[in-house]
Assembly symmetry: C2
Homo-oligomer: 204 residues x 2
DNA sequence: ATGCTAGGGTACGGGGCAGTACCGCGATTA
DNA sequence: TAATCGCGGTACTGCCCCGTACCCTAGCAT
């Protein structure tokens, strides 16, 4: 029978992945134990090792899927009937909301600390995560340039610069576990960045 | 005898600290072993535990001292006889040079991954490290405002914004172990940030 | 109903590490 | 020179964890 219905094997695999997400993000790669994952997922270690081979592969499978789904809410910012300023504002707020969520921070912490040991994984995370936002904005800026409402040479560099301003030190503070900005602080930060960006690049 | 000369105890303590720096930054807190530190420092575990009590305290002592000395080269940027633009450029380059050094990245990775477990340590790192640069620039900007060459309300926010632009995604990429920017890329990034900052806030 | 296979539960082997105990040597002091 | 103290070297204890092996049950096919 060929249907879209998940096989029991797929279900078991997903259950393990979900438990793995929890445990790896809570403890980090080194301190996470496969036994704990099994405890939360149910089943036995045998099954885990059947599906994923070893701890490293399980970890890689988890981070790969997480990075992709993390920044998926960003598409909403490009709704078509907003002007440049509104789009940038919306984009900045959504970006910060996503990046400052506790699970995003946990992914970031884990990938940063294990990036040297798992280079392929760090690359996947960056490309599907933070850099996906840059690519998206860059292409939007390209449209604006063509339509004559923006004047700038390197759209990719401008996009990186924009997100740099947006992150400010908010992301670093949050990643270090120091504090999370309030809604007001986020708005202030975004407005400040948008104002600067628009004044610099828009055609008056 | 009371002199500035280091006692043998002080020397042993420093040797252990130095070896601890190497090992903790190379392996991260969890994977670092006290045995390895002893191997590199010479001496015995007994001595380590006499001076530092346990692994956590040794780690804390190391990170605390590292953060402070990390950004000490920043003072050179404020040499007095440079104008705003030159000062910002110099500051940005020195800041990136420091932040992108392999040992700075190693500290960052370690503190990010252990910040939740050691909140006090993360705070120390941030205040003596990245935030010290912000404070320094903020006070410089305050002078410029008073002397009438700058127009901006919140110098601290502006300083955070400036360093956000400077870091762009260069620091994140490097922290993830992806790539280090070339000298040219750094210059381009800094020049772009300075141009934008000056255009926004300086009095024409 | 009976045989079989996949997977849950658990125990185990090999290895590593934090922190402690012990022995012996070398230096310091009287 | 003799006694003492402190430190280096090392072994040891208790603990944890990865990956594998083994038993046993439950569901499926014949």
């Amino acid at each position: 029978m060929v249907t879209a219905e998940k096989s029991t094997e797929q279900i078991r695999r997903d259950t393990i992945l979900q438990a793995g997400v929890e445990v790896f993000l809570e403890y980090g790669y080194v301190s996470a134990s496969v036994d704990e994952i099994v405890r939360r997922a149910g089943g036995s270690k045998r099954t885990v090792y059947k599906y994923f081979g070893n701890k490293e592969e399980l970890f890689a499978a988890i981070i790969g899927s997480l990075a992709t789904q993390m920044l998926s809410p960003l598409g909403a910012a490009f709704d078509g009937d907003s002007n440049l300023q509104e789009t940038l504002e919306k984009l900045g707020k959504v970006y910060l909301d996503v990046l400052l969520r506790e699970d995003s921070l946990a992914i970031f912490r884990t990938v940063v600390s294990e990036g040297v040991r798992f280079p392929e994984l760090a690359k996947t995370f960056f490309l599907n995560g933070p850099n996906a936002a840059v690519t998206r904005l860059s292409s939007y800026l390209g449209q604006q340039v063509k339509s004559g409402s923006l004047k700038l040479g390197d759209t990719h560099a401008a996009a990186r610069q924009y997100f740099g301003m947006i992150r400010s030190d908010l992301h670093m503070r949050a990643a270090l576990g120091l504090d999370l900005p309030t809604e007001d602080e986020i708005n202030t930060e975004v407005n400040r960045a948008v104002a600067m960006f628009v004044r610099e690049y828009s055609i008056k």
